[in-house]
Symmetry: C2
Subunit: 152 residues, 2 copies
Amino acid sequence: MSAPRWLSPAEQRAWRTQLALHKLLMHRLDRELQAHSLSVNDYEILVNLSESSGRRMRMSDLADATIQSRSRLSHQISRMEAKGLVTREECRDDRRGTFAVLTDEGWDTIQRVAPDHVAGVREHFIDRLTDEQLDALEKAYRPIVEHLKELR
Amino acid sequence: MSAPRWLSPAEQRAWRTQLALHKLLMHRLDRELQAHSLSVNDYEILVNLSESSGRRMRMSDLADATIQSRSRLSHQISRMEAKGLVTREECRDDRRGTFAVLTDEGWDTIQRVAPDHVAGVREHFIDRLTDEQLDALEKAYRPIVEHLKELR
């Protein structure tokens, strides 16, 4: 094995800044969503379902879309079922399994919470970057996202 | 209240790319660390302790450094204690509480694992960005990190 290629100081700064940015941002958005008794994970699931045809998704597709394991998603959906935000439905014609379905209460919740959440995303992230920075960010990260999706 | 300022398509792309990048990257690095029976959270704690004077940190400082709640950190440290990687030490002269201390086994572990982990960070992130992109990333995100730290 060759000697490890340690990160340079500039590489280390960039790496640690990316990690800190994400953690602090999720921590903040989680706190703001607590006012609506939601977490960022809850919110992400509500958004995915609300944008899907019939406001429903196969559990396997929802796990892919939210980048988590089936078992972690299953626990998350159980907690959201208990709050009345989603239900599970078995599909009889389709052996590929269970759907998660947004309830009317889930739909009302995402409609009510979205304006506050988007204001937080703007205040703590989007509006602190120029259009050029946002564009550069997407161009830099998009190929990495594609690479990592292929590895899954 | 004024009408919500929804994200533009370009803003939405940048935001979702940042979220996906982080999740996929942590998922991948977690998988690679599993070969060493560690998670990215374990690794981060080992790094922080190994870089600290006396290989020890106050629990409150370690919670700040790793951006998590005291209670979450406490659970994490208990799991790492069970693996022999860290111990807790009460400080008699100092009412400010408990220290987390790296064990010799914890120190050996970080020395052994670091080359693989840094190779993964390079392969899946750092080496896919130019020096200019890394610099731009740090310049864009650093002020946001400062803003979010002030809010904590």
